[in-house]
Symmetry: D2
């Protein structure tokens, strides 16, 4: 049995999701190459050790450069906040490590291009973790498109809506500071939607956008809070420097007219990653809050019996499902990460690329950047 050693950088939310995936993947899937949870890396040794013990990482290390430098590490899993991606990914690529990178890719398009260049040059397997591509219902959407069941695509209507910062007392966490997060829901949420649209519809030719902010100042956060929602420090207010919502209209290269609407102020929506695709032969609807389902309308149905059917994508014929449970036994959020690990390890083994990779990340950032440029200038931007 072949195996490869993984070093993970980061041990917060994404550290947890990734660790679980490295662990679960070989238990549920037949893998040619298995991941070994070798070393976990973070700046504070104590919580890091607890994290490593919990998930079975064999060792800990507080300096990520040492992890990257180790000869026995084959894979670097980058699960830290976005502003740290660039330096680590560049070093990992140069060290010849395969890279499993959490999104968003980087702080700037310039960074992203350098990361992609380095990864391409080194010949490593590089993956940008837009996990939703590996949701079985999304894969089914892609299959129906590939099989010609949707025909020519006329429209993409994407939305990614949440509501976790509608409370004005929600503190000024790093997500709301441009120097740490790059942008708000535009980078955080639209990036996911753009990735899905590129996966399902294709590349984008031009874009126009508007962004806005509803709350300009928020309480400074309590640095010692257990969670990022942990409340204010009592030390006054600070300026929010990212947008609260971002709406884009785009023309795809294939002529489809589309929209992307991301907001953290959509009261009642928790993780509503939604899209509709309309084509000449059929249409599709997906909503991540019901991630086991795909809606599909087919003009091939008899004229008296057409309608959107709700496919429960939990049959053995659906991607990944045969390795989980029987039909109708739904899977959840973290399963997509498991699927990503399975496919990533398979890509390393086969020497083929995996999508989305860093080059996809660059294209996605070009679109997101063009949208911000449009929002600032009030003009449509051609890509």
């Amino acid at each position: 049995m072949k195996s490869l050693n993984v070093g993970i950088i980061g041990y917060q939310f994404m550290g947890k999701a990734h660790s679980n995936a490295w662990l679960q993947a070989p238990k549920f899937f037949d893998m040619n190459v298995k991941p070994v949870l070798k070393v976990a890396c973070g700046r504070r040794a104590e919580p890091l050790q607890a994290f490593a013990d919990n998930w079975g990482w064999e060792e800990i290390e507080t300096d990520w450069k040492k992890v990257v430098a180790r000869d026995d590490i084959d894979i670097i899993d980058i699960a830290v906040p976005q502003h740290l991606h660039y330096e680590i990914a560049l070093a990992a690529a140069k060290a010849g490590k395969h890279i499993f990178l959490e999104k968003p890719m980087a702080m700037t398009l310039e960074q992203a291009r350098k990361m992609a260049a380095a990864a391409n040059e080194s010949g490593v397997t590089h993956y940008l973790n837009h996990n939703y591509r590996r949701c079985p219902a999304v894969r089914l959407a892609r299959k129906l498109i590939d099989d010609g069941k949707i025909g020519d695509i006329y429209h993409w209507r994407g939305a990614y809506l949440q509501d976790w910062i509608t409370d004005p007392d929600f503190p000024l966490t790093w997500h709301l500071q441009a120097d740490k997060a790059g942008s708000g829901p535009h980078g955080d949420l639209n990036s996911h939607s753009v990735d899905l649209a590129r996966y399902l519809v294709g590349d984008i030719a031009k874009v126009t956008a508007m962004t806005t902010r509803f709350i300009d100042e928020r309480p400074l956060p309590d640095a010692n809070a257990a969670t990022f929602k942990g409340g204010s420090s009592g030390a006054g207010m600070g300026k929010v420097t990212v947008e609260d919502a971002s709406f884009m209209t785009v023309m795809f290269e294939n002529g489809a007219l589309g929209s992307f609407e991301a907001s953290r102020f959509a009261t009642g929506r928790k993780n509503y990653n939604f899209f509709e695709i309309y084509g000449s032969k059929g249409s599709l609807i997906f909503n991540l809050e019901r991630m086991n389902e795909l809606q599909y309308f087919s003009k091939d149905d008899p004229d008296y019996a057409q309608g959107f059917r709700t496919i429960l994508a939990t049959e053995p014929v659906h991607d990944y499902i045969a390795n989980w449970w029987p039909p109708g036994h739904v899977i959840g959020y973290e399963h997509e990460f498991v699927h990503a690990v399975v496919d990533f390890m398979d890509a390393i083994d086969s020497g083929k690329s995996i999508s989305p990779d860093f080059n996809d990340g660059v294209k996605e950032m070009e679109i997101l950047d063009a949208a911000l440029e449009s929002a600032a200038s009030g003009r449509t931007v051609t890509l």
Copy 2:
């Protein structure tokens, strides 16, 4: 019992919908002033007579100017295609007739402004028939907003999607010719959505838009076809001169960020007039294909029991419903026209204005025009 005499101009689809409304209104509602179906007007006497006989119009007349000139006519109902609205409305206003005008209002903003000026000056009651404002579920949306249940509005997400021309063999009917229809779904569908948005959210400050056309040429239509979908003439192809889809992004005056997406190429959507409204205290969802329902999310609910509730707006407490059937007995499309007639007659009786009126129509056309300007220039247009 007071009554007023109605003269209707037009006897096609809208002639049917309006006639039914004039007839049904006093049967189901207590009205201070009842409409009398006095005269029906159209250019071809024979089908017009059959129409009049069917709906109980007392007389027929083939020259609309004679109808407008009659002293015994109190109300002019304009139910002809859009390019005829201007001349008739202007004459009716000058003649001091109350006007019940089917949408879209006019071919140009210039026309609309003149129509509004004439109607305002004459002091008649004027109404632009955006029927969806009188759907009980939409009225409930307005009530919830007025009662403060939604709070500050952050987002409007409107769509009006149909699919009746996805077939390339669908003929080049007047709907697809700019000189007859003005525009495509932008004027036909976005106009409804803009009216609803103005009713529920408020006025719009700036707009950016993209439009597109998927099919540039279509078979010339058979002029003798029984229905407008009646097939081609076999005489070759003609150029489509309106857009097939129009997507707008807008900033409302109150700061809400919104979108409007209209298309006749949304395979599977038949009359999908849809909107979502997100606010600081709650949210709303409406879909005309389920027009008896309104979805409502309230942050006032206990944190463990929040969710979008589906209100079946068929209770006696809901507007208009007490006059129809018991709870759970749904109403349909034409009921909205009946409600419009009831409110229109009441406006005449009380001397109050009714919304939307011609002034609303002007505001709506300003927005639609600005959007087309944006689509053409690639720039955001401020209103």
Copy 3:
């Protein structure tokens, strides 16, 4: 143009629904024979006259026997409470009048059998108004079954749920008194479901049932209340003598196993006439609160794309729809009555029977009676 004169007995809720149907039918449908609203009959002249004026009934009459005796009356429309059906229907049949009878058919099976015998013998057209058979979505269900799309039927799961008497202060109206209403939801609601099941699945071989009552005493009603929900008289309490809920399990003659669940205590359900049909090739779901929709699952779909599709039964290919509005423009509750009038007049004209007729009513009552017998005895009853 042929026409037939109608005499209607009853002018309350059903008088309104029927009058509207007689009026609307020839306006929207091409009919060989048109109904003439000749005479309206009720016991109190004053409200009756108002009713007749509103709906256009030419004359009024306070003695139903005189109506039945008139030579110029062709059709008797029986729209009075159930306990009056027997005598009127018998007289009408003997007088050779066609009969349009509102359900439930009669107070007892014995009555129903005599009514059917009289109607059969006289050779008149007789119709029992289970209006839901003429909902386009229900007709589509029947078509799919007839076309073999559902295959052998394994299950019927019917429910008819309302909640209008959950309040203990709701007064003891006639609906809650066995001598006036016969039974509670068993006769009122299960009768509809049994009719639909007989229409869609077939006859029933055996039945077992349980019924119950949640509230035994209620305030005596105010006889002068404007509506039947008008409140109590303040004169004390009276005994409820019908059941509040009735659940049946049945075996159909074709081997399908089914259930019927009727209740007036299903909080949140307003007019939830619901059924599911499961077959060897496909399945169907219908809910009257969304009466324009039918859900359909087909095993003929590819294995990776199976799911319940929601058909919006508003296309021209769907029964009755071409006479109303374009696709996606939904119809409402009263449209079913219009369809019933159209089909009833056509049956008279063609000399064919219409379903459900009085013979169907007898079969339906046999089933309902058997269920009550089972509920009383605790034993399965074979039909």
Copy 4:
């Protein structure tokens, strides 16, 4: 850190689900006592070893009696087919082992009673794994009931519908043989529903039932097939000896009227564990295929804004959720098993009982047995 050693008997589907749960529980939840995956037991050493290696069971053993006899084993996890439960559970109880028992409990009520007696007498913690009690949305249903939000319960409408044996060529697996499976969907599916009903509504006073079989003979199965759906042996046909569907009507002790409908012939339903609860103050709807959601209707809402709200039970306030992912990030089927392990270990630690335990299993079997007696006799059976 305290820990307890687990011995698992069985390594098929439920062995997989249980192993995953033992493994995941301490990684996501803070547990006072952690499970150690000590020994896995099955009859065939080779696949057993692979199973143990995959899930991290330290040792294997092919004789379950030796596992039960080991002093270092604290917990026996019984994950074998139903006909083996009795002997193992009895031995485990006598040996003083805590027991985690997969449902259905036993082949007969007699067995179940002896198992419960033995477990009670020994004082061990015993748990019958009706996993759906630990779905967060189901827990929320219980909370709403406990908090009085539903009021007096009028109705339970339960259904558990699947469609995996509608194909006549589906082979005669052990599930279809009475001597191995006890019964068909009655024991397999109705047992789950009865457990949920007892959890949410209460105990049952009387029951009437009908069962049926649609396919009497099926191909003999291929004993060497990789999966139980692996196809026929080609050796001819055998008799199906369990029912294909079972419908029950019940009266609860608290007066609620209810139904239970289980079938493996509900085409289109995969794992449709569904219930509706109607009460004097509110109502609830749950569907396992959308297990992260609970629908709730409240009469406390304003009369114009009542409706079933869809609660996405993925908020930190919902049971178990804070240990998984952020709001809107749904969980899946296996998470319920993890929750069961967490609660089971906590019960052992605290010395409190856990529900459902063996005594609940006895009550549940009494109901299921009474239903079969009713189906056979055609009489209502009082419990």
